[in-house]
Every structure is written in C-alpha cells, then in structure tokens.
Symmetry: C2
Subunit: 399 residues, 2 copies
Amino acid sequence: MRDVAVIGVGMNRWGELWEKSHRDIWTEAALEAVADAGVDRVDAMYVGCMSGGLFVGQEHLGAMLAEQLGMGPIPGTRVESACASGGLAFRQAVLAVAAGEHDVVLASGVEKMTDVDGGAATYALSTAADQEYECYHGITFPGLYAMMARVHMHRYGTTRKELAEVAVKNHAHGSMNPLAQFQGKVTAEQVMESVLVADPLRILDCSPITDGAAAVVVASLDAAKRMKGGAGAARPLVRVAASAHATDSMALHDRDDLCWLGATAKAAEIAYKKAGIGPEKLSFVEVHDCFTIAEIMVIEALGLVERGKGGGAAASGLTALGGKIPVNTSGGLKSKGHPVGATGVAQIREAVLQLRGEAADRQVKGARYGLTQNMGGTGASTVVHIFERIERGQGGMER
Amino acid sequence: MRDVAVIGVGMNRWGELWEKSHRDIWTEAALEAVADAGVDRVDAMYVGCMSGGLFVGQEHLGAMLAEQLGMGPIPGTRVESACASGGLAFRQAVLAVAAGEHDVVLASGVEKMTDVDGGAATYALSTAADQEYECYHGITFPGLYAMMARVHMHRYGTTRKELAEVAVKNHAHGSMNPLAQFQGKVTAEQVMESVLVADPLRILDCSPITDGAAAVVVASLDAAKRMKGGAGAARPLVRVAASAHATDSMALHDRDDLCWLGATAKAAEIAYKKAGIGPEKLSFVEVHDCFTIAEIMVIEALGLVERGKGGGAAASGLTALGGKIPVNTSGGLKSKGHPVGATGVAQIREAVLQLRGEAADRQVKGARYGLTQNMGGTGASTVVHIFERIERGQGGMER
C-alpha cells in the first residue's frame, strides 16, 4: 500500500444557508480544496452524505457532483454511514490512492438539512438508529444519548455541570473559528438553564441542524513530495498515518455497556497500532460531540482519559486549547455545526490546518500528531484517522 | 495492487417479499455467499443500497448489516450510486482487497421496494435523476428513457418491435432462472399490446419494482488459490480482470447525444484496457436493461454492436443464449427483477455461475470472459467489471 497525504482542504461557512442549494454549498468547499491543493484535476471523487433522499430528494450524488465539479467522466462515489459518512468517504479515498487505483482524489461531505422542517429533519436523523428496534417505538437521538448520559452519571458520578462544561469549552473554541455556525461563547449556567430536550440533555448540550460542506484532496505521499504548485510548496506535508473503521451494535439494548463506545475503542486500537503511536503522542483530537455526553464517552474510548473519568476533562482544562490534549479546537459539532455528511471531513480539515500551523487563534503549538474520530448513530459505526506532520527539508523533502 | 477473485456468491428468490424485512432478505443472500465461499469470517463488508431512507426509513446499513451478519465489529460500508449502487459497492470491496487493507470482503446489495406504495416508489427512484433540473418539472424514469428511445428510433430507425424483442429474449432467459421474479415467457405481441407507460415504452418494456438482495465474497487471488474449503476446491477460480467506473451528465439535456451512454462507453474503454481484451473475447455479458431501450443502448456503448445497430440484436438472435454474444442470461433486470441496490451484485453472481459452469439450463458453453455493466439513473454513473475463468491445474493451481 502507498502512503497517502492530504494536500488540500476546503470548507464553506456553515449555518442555515437558505439561499444556497446542496449543490452550491458542496461546490464551494470542493473548489476551495482543489485550489488549496494546487492541482487542476482530480482522478476520482468521493462524497459522504447521510440522507440526500430524505433531506433534499436527491440521491446519486457521486455522479451529480463529479459533473458539478466540471470533472466528469471521473468516478464519483457516495458513501453513507449516517453521521460518519464524511469520515468514511475520506477512508475510501485513502484506500483508492493506497491501492494505486487513483493518484489524486477529492474526499468530501455535504448535508443540506434546513430544506425540511424540524420534524422531518428529526425523522431523517432517526434513520441512523435501528428503525425496527428503536425508532418505531418513539425514541429519537436526543433520547438515546440522554439514556447514555444517565447511565454515565449514575455509574461514574458525572455531573450535570460537567456536561455543560463540554459545551462551554467547544463554544469558546468555536468563537475563534470564522466558519463555525455559532461564534458566541456560552456559560455553564446558560447551558444548564437552556430548554430541556431529553433529560438531562438541554438544547445547549445538542449539536445543531446545519447546512454545510467540507472537502479535502488526497494524493500519494510520494506525489505530494514532488508537488511544487499551489500553496503547498512552503507547507509541511500531512501524512495519513492511520485509517480505521469499526462497528458496534446498532440498537443500544444490544450493547454490554450503554455508556461505552465499543466501535470507537476498536477503531482507535487499530489506528494506534497502524500509526505506531499511543494516545500520549497526540497533540490534539477532533471528536464527534453530537451531544456533550458524546465527547465525554469518546475521549474515554480513545484512551485520552480513564474509563469513567471523561466528565471532569473539560472543566479541568485538560481538553481545552492550551490544555494537555485539546479536544475540538474547531468548535466541534457543538459550535461549528453538524451537517451530518460533512462533519467527518471538516474534522480532517481542522487536523490539517493544525498540523500545517495554519489554525490562527486556535493553533495548537508544535502539533505533530492529530486524531479525528467520526461516528454514526449512537456510535454503531466509527472512523478514526491519525495524521502526522512531516517537515519538508531544506535541500529536499525529508521526514 | 493485488489480483482479486470472487470466491462465493449468494442471492435470494426475488419478488414482492411482503413477509420479509430488508434485513431478512439481505441476510439470506449474505449468509449464502459466505457459505458458498467456505469461509467462516469476512474482514469487512460493503453494501450497495440506493435509498434506505425513502424505501424503508433506514440509513446506516453498513453498521446494521455487519451486526446482522454476526460479524461486528468488522467495518461495514454502504455505497450508493442509484441503480449502480451494487456494482459500485463491489468495486470498493475489490479496491480494499487490492490495496491489501482487507483479505476477505463481502460485497452485497439490497433494496426493499414494496414497503411503500407505487407513487412513493416512483418518487424514491426519481431521486436518481437530477431533481432540480428534471424531476421538479414532472418527469420520472419511464419518461426519461422514453425520450431516449424516441431519439434512437428517429435517428437509427429502431422499431417498436425491436424494443419488444429485448423483453421477449430476457423473459425467455429468466424462465430458466429459478430465482427470477418473473419466470413466464412473453411474446412480442404481448409486449406491444401491454399498458402504455410513457410512449413508446409499455409496461412490459419496464423492469419491475422488486425486493431482493445479492452478495458475493472476494479475496486476493493468491488466497483464493490456497483455499481448500467450501465448495470452492473443485471449481475454476473467477478472477476480477478489470473494474472501472465512470460518470456522465446527470440531466439528459446536458448530453451531446441523448441516446449514447457516455459513462458506459468510458467505463468499458477503461475495463477492456485493464483486462487486456476487447469485446470480441467476451463469452457473455450482463447489462442494465432497466428498460428495453437501455439494453439496446448499452450493447452499443460496450462495442458489442455498431453504434445505432443495437435495435436488431435481440431479434436476430445475436444476444440470445446460443447466439454470438448472449446478453442477460440471468433474465436481466426485466425478468429477474430490479431491487435497485442489489442489481449490480446479482449481475456479478450470474457471471460467476457462468464462469464456474454452474448456470444449469442457461449455461454459456466454454465461457471464459464475462462482463457486467451496471448503471445509475439514465446512465450518469456506470460500473463495468470483467471476470475471467482460471482453471485449477491437476497438480496444483495454474492460470
């Protein structure tokens, strides 16, 4: 297998983009990534999208967007894994380059969620859970994560305020991200006094409904080293050190432990082994904080904190910018927004910016390894990637 | 890249399966493929499905079906490219094995289309066309293919009876396929007198709404040669000689030629080059005859007949079993049925049966190379695969 590098990134301003179609917002991000990579053509493209059918009445996005990019007849493939669609689309792009099938590939994600009303959006999102075993009985995602939160609070003593601190931290990070949907800070009191959605989760514990897209360009590491064009020439290279994907039971009732994310733990185990590093080597991580409790469970499953100890991480400053292991410097799903198919790709964009030293006010100093974790549903599918900064040497390219 | 072989196939009886869920029908096919391969585990699985969201209210099928197979936490990835979803899922599985990322991978497809009424099914299928440029203005797939047929008839003199002969041939083939949805033969007169859908296409020119699934198992060719288990030991090996994917404009109005399938021609060109053969070497092909006119256009784009000469192929016997190049010995989408996400994988199953010499009454004698062509929408995405029979030598394994 060939080593793979990310050579370009793009993302549009996320939010409620009523004046733009899904096609428009995807194109903004994709063209930016291609320009950032300094290439004039890609050999293939992948797009992660959770439910083009239910959100915008459009499936067959691979073909449509390859044409939209002006690059038909290149292969265009849509990949879906609920809210992990973007991360999984990126993984397929990496495999295509690693296999030698394609040399330069665009990996992207898009979701246009505000063309339907809130009820229809909630229904569309519920198709990420097990319809027959969960949704037909009336539960939706806030309820599922609320049950996970309740178990975590009961078993480990996690507090309502600790949940709120995750939102406080991520909104603070997002206030430094000019593309984030929400750029205001919140206090723990504001979170705890916000509208109740599914006890104990309140509206400020939940990631929003968002329109948005993100895209990155991957190429073989060898090709990336030879590239002189674009803005890439003066930048460090970003190598894909590991790509891993694992699954868990779809329905919560089938799991041994309601507040342990088995697929995340499994994917992380594979990824650390492939990259040859452990979690202590990571400079930062971007994780799937669709609800505040999710970030708490994820950092446990990634081995950043002990099992059961995720609750205190945000409040203690451990996971804040400047802390030992900054989590979600982009603002996370909570503040940046969560256009479900795009989220996993936007995480990768943030990792690339950090490793290039281009993250501006939210830069993690000296970042060398970064990890992204993107999951679908209540964690039934999880994709983990590890990225490594590689300096370009003076007299040539060196590791 | 490693050479890849298909080592197992499975498919359930297709039709209106009201007593089974999408989960049930997928599992039947998947377990049969795993048993046929003689393996007790796969390392990853891919599933092609066009619109789990609109047909059954269930996305996130990769994770759900990996669990359903009893093989979680293996990676489970859903791929969508409208009616080419199955072929494209197979292609991703091939790439994963070729890259060395996984050794034994299940590639599958499923669609459960009869849980919604006809209007909702027509809407769901229309999401394979360009919603903004085509469907919002009222057209659906029979209308789009009817326009293509009218141009073909006008330009090349293709007749109404020639369209009908495609249906006659494929129903005759399907009458020998015990898993086909329709197993009765039809006459050209019956086709031409059947209910008008979109002039000139009548109901017997159209593939049906179907519930069904199909699955195959792929492994590296080297691993396949070493396998002694299952029913595989005594069988010829089936090598994936080429995998190709191309796209075309989504909306018909953007194409240079309304009745030329550019993505099929492009994918075929790539596939012939990869396989090192031309169309004259093929023993049979399975093509995407969603409408009778589609088969006519596809065999032209594949180079089996001259451009504009597809109309006479079925009537002359050229493409019938026993003819020079049998097309759709399985019965095709027309008779076997068309559960959209499963179709591309079922085509591959038929190719494997033919190359193994296991196609019973519909066997093509001495088949050595077979091609499958699976397309989405009006051909905006097309996946072409070429398969080669490799005999196992007496004293070992030989090409």
